[in-house]
Symmetry: C2
Subunit: 250 residues, 2 copies
């Protein structure tokens, strides 16, 4: 089995991103590159960094600043030192409040959700692709897996068109359906390079975004996600699954 050496996760100041960082530090020997917009305000992440100096690298990134992506790729290259990047988890995302078409829906909400939830994962994946390819090549003898090289896009069941029974929520639903479409194209575009691509619904978690009524504790969800990620093979390439590995219809 190839060794999962380097993982990059976006949006790690809180919620699912922060919890994923903890899981990887606890459950694998991998180095973690954790991005957040404002490291100074990410106290819990900073504390984690102090007790994991050699393994946790905090990278300041505003995912709307696309012209900085190639520079950030250089920063990641310095950390990964020729090993490449095994796993990119596009986790950072936003959601506007629920609204129906009749009500307060605004152009700015539709575009902002799309830019952060869809365009940023696509463009960051493009920027990190050379590093993902290096990891895939370094582990060329190993089967397709997150240990070799993979892109995991954190999507949402709200992006499932067939499971939409409540309507509304245009900015978020559109951005996540679009992210699922992008993930499918990634899975096909990267296949010959040995890089896996999947979209994962993390479950409805008790986070700032998910709210207090959510049924899932965030660490329970991310522990389940990690287990699911570890089990991914070429059969799941392009799949849309939830935290526990169950398939979701588009």
């Amino acid at each position: 089995m190839a060794l999962l050496r380097n993982v990059m996760i976006t949006g790690c100041n809180r919620g699912i991103g922060l919890s994923l960082v903890k899981q990887f530090l606890n459950e694998t020997p991998a180095s973690v590159i954790a991005t957040c917009r404002n490291p100074d305000g990410a106290q819990e992440l900073q504390q984690l960094q102090q007790s994991n100096e050699s393994r946790l690298h905090i990278l300041q990134m505003d995912l709307r600043n696309f012209n900085e992506f190639s520079g950030k790729s250089n920063d990641v290259e310095k950390v990964t030192k020729g090993q490449g990047l095994n796993l990119l988890i596009n986790n950072a995302g936003i959601s506007t409040k629920f609204s129906r078409l009749q009500n307060t829906l605004k152009v700015e909400q539709l575009v902002e959700n799309f830019v952060i939830n869809t365009v940023a994962p696509i463009m960051l994946t493009k920027a990190m692709l050379p590093l993902l390819k290096i990891a895939a090549t370094n582990n060329a003898g190993h089967p397709i897996s997150i240990e070799r090289a993979a892109v995991v896009n954190i999507s949402s069941v709200l992006g499932s068109i067939s499971q939409n029974k409540d309507g509304g929520f245009y900015p978020y639903r559109c951005s996540k359906a679009a992210l699922n479409a992008a993930t499918q194209s990634m899975s096909l575009d990267f296949m010959n390079d040995g890089i896996l691509a999947v979209a994962i619904h993390p479950g409805w978690c008790k986070t700032d975004m998910g709210g207090k009524n959510a049924p899932l504790d965030v660490d329970t969800a991310t522990s389940s996600i990690l287990k699911t990620l570890r089990g991914l093979t070429s059969e799941q390439n392009g799949a849309f699954i939830q935290y526990d590995g169950q398939s979701i219809a588009y």
Copy 2:
């Protein structure tokens, strides 16, 4: 059966939009409000207008100018004179050339395709919703149908995630998957108002966008679309179908 009185179609200077205008003028007694960005350059549409003065109304609209939409709604109200709008066909769209992630994909392409192909249909539908509701109320005794009130979003099979076997094409695929997501929400948000919403793949047509190698003649496709639209009932509310009525998986 309710009478299909007023139809609004976007992007009518050429291609599928222009052909749809012809079909409605030939096959139904409805008045047609045909939008295009530059009426002076839309010669064929102007010629049609001259021979259908009382039924064809050309409305100048740039679908990126969202702040003009409420004014355009007033223009449509003047044409429809209290009858409301029975059918809005969001046809206008753009497509960037095919590219894979590795190649020339740009942020601007992703955002531009999303703004024109997804945001514009959503916001135009929002602007026309009061007129669609008037038509639905005026025909309250009639079943759900395009004769009562409906929104038809011209989507594409390229927006089908499950049928994507070729990859690439991020800007167009993302925008059309997002449009399908929006259509599903519309179908749920409008149900109680008696307004139908569907997404239609028009077929791969010989147009400027579809190219010369396309298998379908555009007038054949739009004739088939009109027949399909006429057969829509509440059972197809929210459906993703192609020109001939066949269902497409998301």
